[in-house]
Amino acid sequence: VVKMTSTLKGITLKGSAELVAEFFSFGINSILYQRGIYPPETFGRVTHYDMSLQLTTDPKLKNYLTDVVSQLKEWLFECTVQRLVLVITCLETNDVLERWQFDIECDKSAKESSAPREKSIKTIQDEIRSVIRQITATVTFLPLLETPCAFDLLVYTDKDLVVPEKWEESGPQIITQSEEVRLRSFTTSIHKVNSMVAYKRSDSM
């Protein structure tokens, strides 16, 4: 799909929205797999960005992710999304244990001019690969999730946006006493994504 909407010369707003949405899809799946939010046997191996990735095969989870990511893609195209957050909550205590935050800077001028930007998809995908690699590597320092946990996806949007039917307003679900680590960022030259993770300090659990 991405190849159809972006030329060899560069990248359009639509192509950029698709690339970023795709990154979120793979990124979220990676986090859910790495953090053991769903059992490993409910994932299947695929190859993307020239690397091996895990995608869920759980039908309910698949549906939910498709719903969220397709809506997100729309908002990316409209340049009305500011941030996506994956929140991991402990079901026993209702404490938020981890927040994977992706700040999105949209270049709104791309809405006016349809001329493609000069950045190759290959370069962008290389940058995305580094981010996903780093997400995988964070397992080494993040505290083990020992209790049953569930996740939620929060989307920070522009204020004037109309709330879609299946969506509702939420709180930011901030962690009390957290450590924060900034991860790599990537840019399509239209959308810039800054990644970071905040986690509850293990001595406060």
């Binding site: 909550t89 079901l91 204020k159």
Partner: protein, 315 residues
């Protein structure tokens, strides 16, 4: 005070002068009686002149004094003016110093603000990292049926059903207690009469089915074992029984006596050894040939079979 003193001096002089003049006028009745002499008149005029000179000099002194005072005053004024000017110019000279101080103050203030700004930026960064946002510019949304909401809902349902069960059981206990069941056994009896839980029913069913399966397997095994033994007996001519663990008793179909049997024992390595029986004692030659020499149990057994068979057919 000086002026007043001076005025008094002038006044006194003038008074004395005046009195002197009035004295020079001869009293009305005495004019003719005592005519003034020339000498006295001269003396008189001299005295007058002297007095006048005195007044003049006094007046001049006063004038000079006044002039001096005026000069002093103007000096004083000039000095004040100078002092004022000097102080003014001094103040003018102080201006750069004040400015310098001001610059230093502002510099310190700037540094303080810079530091504060740095701190605030760090705090803002931390808040951003933690997920804070400006509600005036940003709206925070999530999918209603998100996995956390679903999981929490399920947990709530579980809790609700457990609570319901607890309430039901509490009520049951209350009823049991009220019915006067004081001793434990009757309470136990009653609790046993309670409908068993789903799990118990399930396990019971499982147990029954596995018992049935076991029974069937046993029957099948029994049948097969029997069949096997019969076949062995018919084909080899020996009935094989297990006496104790690892001991096998072989009875030939052609045995002359019911208890003519051979006893084999299995060693730990799996090898079979013939044990001594009344019957085996009669087979010394065959034991020696087939077991000791040829080391073949089947040959030994066959030899025994043939031997017994030949004895039978002879009879």
């Amino acid at each position: 005070r000086m002026d007043l003193e001076d005025d008094t001096t002038i006044l006194t002089t003038l008074k004395s002068f005046n009195s002197f003049i009035s004295q020079s006028e001869p009293p009305r009745g005495a004019i003719l009686t005592a005519p003034p002499t020339l000498q006295s008149q001269y003396k008189r005029s001299f005295e007058l002149l002297e007095a006048a000179e005195k007044v003049q000099s006094k007046t001049r002194f006063l004038q000079l004094d006044q002039e001096k005072k005026q000069m002093e005053l103007s000096h004083k004024k000039a000095r004040l003016e100078l002092e004022k000017a000097a102080s003014d110019s001094a103040r003018d000279l102080e201006v750069p110093t004040a400015l310098k101080q001001k610059i230093e103050d502002l510099e310190a203030e700037r540094q303080r603000l810079e530091q504060l700004n740095g701190e605030l930026e760090m705090r803002l960064e931390k808040h951003t990292l933690q997920g804070d946002f400006d509600p005036a510019k940003t709206r925070l949304l999530h999918f209603k049926m998100n996995p956390t909401a679903v999981a929490k809902q399920q947990r709530q349902q579980e809790v609700d059903s457990l609570q319901e069960e607890v309430t039901r059981l509490r009520e049951l206990v209350r009823v049991v207690q009220e019915s006067g069941a004081q001793d434990e056994s009757s309470v136990l009896g009653l609790s046993l009469s309670l409908p068993p839980s789903k799990e118990v029913l399930e396990l019971r069913k499982q147990k029954e089915s596995s018992e049935l399966k076991n029974q069937r397997l046993k029957e099948v095994f029994q049948k097969k074992i029997q069949e096997f033994r019969t076949v062995c007996y018919v084909l080899t001519g020996y009935q094989i029984d297990i006496t104790t663990a690892n001991q096998y008793r072989l009875t030939s179909v052609y045995a002359e006596h019911m208890d003519d049997s051979l006893l084999f024992k299995k060693g730990s390595s799996g090898s079979m050894q013939l044990m001594e029986t009344e019957f085996s004692k009669t087979l010394g030659e065959m034991v020696s040939l087939h077991l000791h020499h040829q080391k073949s149990i089947p040959a030994f057994l066959s030899a025994v079979t043939l031997d017994l068979f030949s004895k039978q057919t002879v009879v």
